[in-house]
Amino acid sequence: MSVRAAVRAYPALLRTGFAGAVAYRAEFLIWMFSTNMPLVMLAIWSAVAREGPVPGYSQKGFTAYYLCTLLVRMMTGSWVVWELTMEIRQGTLALRLLRPLHPLIAYSAENLAAVPLRGVLAIPLAVVLLATAGRGSLATDPRLWIMFIPAMMGAWLLTFLVMALIGTLSLYLESAVSLFEAWLGLSAVLSGYLVPLDLFPESIARVARVLPFRFLLSYPVEVLLGRLSATQALLLLAAQWGYVAVAFIAVVVVWRAGMKRFGAYGG
Amino acid sequence: MIDVRDLRKHYQVHRRDPGMRAALRSLFHRPTETVRAVDGISFHIDEAERVGFLGPNGAGKTTTLKCLAGLLYPTSGEVSVLGHLPRLRATAFLQSITLVMGQKQQLLWDLPPAETFLLNRAIYDIPQKEYAETLSELTRLLELGPLLGKPTRQLSLGERMKCELAVALLHRPRVLFLDEPTIGLDVSMQATVRTFVREYNERFSATVLLTSHYMDDVTALCPRVIVIDKGRLIYDGALDELVRRVRPDKRVNLRLSRPVERADLARLGRVIEQKDASAILQIGKDQLQAAVAGALASLPLVDLTIEDPPLEEVMRDLFAQETERREALP
């Protein structure tokens, strides 16, 4: 399908995806409540900070950090890896391939369409954030606020593309899901989801700052919290989108090769 | 042996129209409807009988069966199977019955059927000697030899059904509940299942209750049929009597190479449908041979098939007769 046609079809796909997200709202709510790790970590760090100082983070600082983490996580989450691996395993991917629409574009619309719904729930969260942590915890530089948008987009794209990549790998590997679990584990540690990256020992923090995991979560959070200068943020934005480009190319390559294989085995 | 008296099973269902307003309204007032799945059925079945429950989808056959098996509590009425009240689910009762459901299996999916057999042996507490005897008998009757060691998911639908039958009969139940066992199977496998069930019934004097909406299942297997529709028992008696009573006609489908006159078709039998390249005739069984010979001789045929009229039509006739009969009562 040509790019022009895909672009024309996209709004319709988004509309359908949104309807689907609304239909599955019960599941979504349950998923939302399952993403409670940041709140638990907040409770822990609050207790720690209450008993004594933690370098770089006050109690309010932790509140701001973890509420932002929750916000970013909610807005950038995807589920394409599960859908893709299941469709490959059950052979229903063949049905998608019959349509004049690239499956990955269809998946992206589906996942993207859920964002507004999550946005609706993100608003009360943002309100809570402002109320508890106060404006002082957030960035003051307007340039950072401008950069927050592409940072979020980059985070969403990177999350989606890596999931799509691993999902596509299940055309080759039986155990692509295990690979994804390994990715999840590493990103839980290295993306700042469990623990702010600056609280790691310096040797580990230095590595974590350049790995792609940071750009899934920690980077947008750092921008929002004003923990980066405008120049730093800009450079890191370039790095983030660099990773996005790499992921994109990887997905295209692996998908093309995978399709040949899929076709050869009759799907 | 099996006694059913005025069995009723009613469900309360909440009806909800689509749309936002109805959804909001449903928070305050939920209209319930009573679905009368089974509405006063009575019959008696003796040991070693083979009985078929016939009726269209949603008639209440499966519900009746489940009440007999103890899977559903009746709303009212009395049910007695082998002297037990099924809903009490006494151990002795459960050891004497079995259920086979078409397209649903109890075989463990990723393991060979042999593993499920072992599991059921423990569940039903079957002594080793008896187990070995039953297993070898079933393996012989169903030709299971090469199938037992392959994982269930690698078996074809028909092979799975054979193994399903075997695993259901390991504990030598006295009553077999078969719920649409041949659905989805190809013609030869359907025949295999029917032959096996009949053999099993004759060898072990097991009572067989079969529900189906395939006339052929019942024709091949059940001398006695119970017809159920809309939860009511419409007919209970010998099968040939039913067929004779209701519709002794056959349907003949013709495919033609060019259009023909309606009169040419009407000469052979009653014309149900006529299009340019095809036609359907309804012909009494006695006139069938002559009509087919006539069609072959006089019509430009591409294809000709003979089949029973659809069951729904047979039933409709049956119900029409029933309604007339009921209305004629004082």
Partner: protein, 266 residues
């Protein structure tokens, strides 16, 4: 149906044998999943390690003492994700496929049949990991638990397992009423994640939640306290009583759901 305990035990043995046979078939997966389990254990330890990197005592717990809590957490997680969850999720599959009738027709209590339906033996690696954590922690503490402490800890472990199982039964019973709630189990597992922390750290809302609503405190903190010899008799008895109460309630919930399924109450 009259209860027949010996028969039930034989059935459980047969169910476990079936699970084991299945697991042996997927040998490669055994080691792959085992490696993943160890990986997740390492991931679990990271936050604890970072938190105690800032301070040596938090809410009265030192790092080795907190390790004991994580050790129990790991062990319980193994039972939860390796036995309780996969088995009870089968019930939801049965309801969806319409094959629950087969379970109900067997001359065995349905709850027994579904509780042991699927066990993943490679989770035993988690238990080795937990033991390693215990040994390391006690080395750091420069002492070893006495016999009384071990017995108390074992009793608390049994209580914890029973509570975990009961919660799972309640979750599954809900699935009979509302069909699309298999992710309720996922939700529970995510909440259970908070049990890796000593429960005394939590304040306010979380404290209430994790002590009374979902007794995570009971599951991991109490066995740890028992090992350290710091579990009061009152707390232990309270835990035992609470556990039995929970188990009884879950059995009622299960029976209620079963009756509803067979529309006994209509």
């Amino acid at each position: 149906m009259k209860p027949r305990p010996l028969h039930a035990l034989r059935v459980v043995r047969a169910l476990l044998a079936a699970s084991a046979t299945l697991a042996v078939q997927y040998r490669l997966e055994f080691f792959g999943q085992g490696a993943l389990a160890l990986f997740w254990q390492a991931v679990t330890l990271v936050p604890l390690w970072v938190v105690f990197g800032t301070r040596s005592t938090i809410s009265g717990w030192t790092f080795p003492e907190a390790l004991l809590v994580i050790g129990w957490f790991t062990a319980l997680k193994a039972f939860l994700e390796g036995a309780i969850s996969p088995s009870l999720m089968q019930v939801i599959e049965h309801v969806r496929k319409g094959t629950l009738d087969f379970v109900l027709l067997k001359p065995v209590d349905a709850q027994v049949l579904v509780s042991f339906a699927k066990v993943e033996p490679w989770r035993i690696i988690d238990l080795f990991g937990a033991s390693a954590i215990f040994i390391y922690a006690f080395r750091q503490l420069h002492r070893a638990p006495g016999l009384a402490e071990l017995c108390a800890a074992f009793a608390m472990l049994l209580a914890a397992l029973l509570v975990l199982y009961s919660i799972a039964i309640v979750v599954v019973s809900i699935a009979f009423f509302a069909v699309r709630v298999d992710n309720l189990m996922f939700l529970f597992q995510s909440i259970f994640d908070a049990a890796r922390w000593p429960s005394t750290i939590f304040r306010g809302f979380f404290a209430v939640l994790f002590t009374f609503v979902l007794p995570l405190a009971l599951m991991t903190t109490y066995p740890a306290l028992a090992l350290l010899g710091r579990l009061s008799l009152r707390a232990a008895l309270g835990a035992a009583l609470g556990t039995l109460l929970f188990a009884a309630l879950s059995r009622v919930a299960w029976r209620f759901s079963m009756r509803r399924y067979t529309s006994a109450s209509s």
